[in-house]
Chain length 433, copies 2
Amino acid sequence: MQTIRTVEAAAHVGQPVRLLGWLYNLRQLGGVTFIVLRDGWGTLQAVTESQADLEPLAGLALESVIALEGVIVATPQAPGGVELHQPKVEVITAVTDPPPIPLNKREIKAGLPALLDHAVVANRHPVRQAIFRLSAGAMAGFRKTLTAHHFTEVQTPKLVASATESGANVFELKYFGRPAYLAQSPQFYKQIMVGVFGRVFEVGPVFRAEPHDTTRHANEYVSLDVEFGFIENHFTVMALAREVIAGIMQELAAHYPEELALLGAQLPTILPEIPHIHFAAAQELILKRHGVDVRGEPDLSPQDERWLGEWAQQEHGSDFLFVTGYPMGKRPFYTHPDPANPAYSNSFDLLFRGTELITGGQRLHRYEEYLAALAKANLPVEPFESYLEAFRYGMPPHGGFAIGLERLLMQLLALPNVRLATLFPRDQKRLTP
Amino acid sequence: MQTIRTVEAAAHVGQPVRLLGWLYNLRQLGGVTFIVLRDGWGTLQAVTESQADLEPLAGLALESVIALEGVIVATPQAPGGVELHQPKVEVITAVTDPPPIPLNKREIKAGLPALLDHAVVANRHPVRQAIFRLSAGAMAGFRKTLTAHHFTEVQTPKLVASATESGANVFELKYFGRPAYLAQSPQFYKQIMVGVFGRVFEVGPVFRAEPHDTTRHANEYVSLDVEFGFIENHFTVMALAREVIAGIMQELAAHYPEELALLGAQLPTILPEIPHIHFAAAQELILKRHGVDVRGEPDLSPQDERWLGEWAQQEHGSDFLFVTGYPMGKRPFYTHPDPANPAYSNSFDLLFRGTELITGGQRLHRYEEYLAALAKANLPVEPFESYLEAFRYGMPPHGGFAIGLERLLMQLLALPNVRLATLFPRDQKRLTP
């Protein structure tokens, strides 16, 4: 007898099969009992009118691990169009207590703290499964797109010697009798690797010791990083960012239609050219449209971003908007200034439905520019010596960007909190599970 | 004019093209000058007899960033069978000092410390590039094989609340006023995720505060992790490990023949079934073949592993050997014992050419078994409460394994030190670059 996954059932109509999974639901309707099995990919309903078939389940709670054998029957009214008849149940691992979060309701009713406290079990809920399957799909789409563009994947160290990139908000640890720090991003290393491979990407954890507690930040998250050489300016980088986002969405559309449907997700409109607006023009626009004068502010607030997202939707029919030319003052020292107006930078944020999703831009690439930028930022040269070696020995004009994986899922699925797009979130108060 | 990569040159014979990269070499032979450009994928030689063509390069050092324009000409005696004629050189970023490690010699003569000190530049050497392209290929092959087997990729937290997995050798950090630790492996989380997806894999950094200094250990490395449910025992896991290794090698063979040739790599023989030997039998074998009595030792030494690797080669013609059934005493508390002989475990190591490459096995899966195992190991229950929730609410028989990415490359390429397979290694003395 063939062992199949739930999602393969429709291809086995009329055949005897074996399925392995968890007891997801058990319902009696009149004399008929529905036994629903969940595995890592979906659910399948078995039907019986025989009490003898149910005997192995006596006294067991949901989430018991079971094997189900029977015959697949086409049943238009059943979920998925098939069900299992003449079920023979075998208990593999008996569970006696009901799960702390009900897993077999369409919606998860538990509040966020309870959900996160019990994430170990709650992530088995089909809605939670679907979110994290999309997360895997997003990573696959990211890599596929960049591999097609001849990028090379790298894995760079997360333990670093100095808290240098931004100078703040880094976690410090004890490293064989001296301090070390957790990398806030692979920024320096991905730039260095442009000198090796020309075009690189990395998928990995980043660590931010940011003390603020918001619905869209976490202290550890997965960063999808890109960096490449021989660009003209940040517009070259923006064009690639568009391709990458489109590649991710194509991957999800092609391979995850059930997950998207279950989550009620609307795939975004990605125009052939995503509209862009300069930072200064964006502030003018906010004044004009909303009567709020944010000119002179060095950054956009979440409210500003929402307003700009609305404008992009109304004006361009776009879920995405590039804001370019952020003031140099708020950008890190390696940022390339706008040659035409050096108070502004060749940088960008990509807003997705009114929230920042991607930050990127062109970087400095000449050794002397770095020495000058460090001096201007009152930073010492010594901790940057290895990094500077890349520029001393030849770097092309280059740039890149980073996408927060969980942020991407949050925006795509309209989740109210980035923690809901994280398997086991880390924030100021939460280190477990 | 089309901009191409070096490796695309052979497809553009007779065409005018533009290439972007680094000045890799400049040689004069009689009246002929060879300008060699290196990009992220290879090198291409340009040839000229005109001094005027060379003028832009006057006073510049190797590693200057350049654009080369010219016509691709089929030249059987040139490296790669093509060269660029009528070169027009444009300098993009001028370099004035020669690189700290010569990059244009076939072999890297620098010693290991110098090589690692200057890894930022040294990794541009074609031999170094090739190693890390294979590393990217190994990750791709790993993911491709597991995706084909319906595994789901996960990303689990690296910041954890307790130093619990092995109780020692973890890095401690300050986390908002309390201690946190860096995950030594995703072991607990990948097991938990078997309860969600049934079959999972993860590629990510792991952190080991091990104080010993060997040629085959690092304090941070990339772990390729696998875990899956509904296994019979560790032999189910070993069968998958064989598929994964074969998938990685197929990926390298298919897409990286030039890199393998440049590095003189011999792809391993992977028999349809990799031979296996029980731990106790392995110790007997060592006594019989080498007269050394290691019976009673709780683990295999590096010398033992080399001897066993030789035996696998001579006896089975295999580059790989599974050693099964390690004593329970040396394995972590979640290890499943051998039901027939509970002093031994349902675990394995995979030796690759006489060095441990993979560790894996079957895990405990019943809640009560965990409570008993923790009690036996004198470990408190409280720090494991979230982890135990997975087992309390139903886990199938499961197991998995982990491959050290850098170790895999080291063994495949016969490198003398795992640091040579690491972009920017971390050891007791080294936190930079």
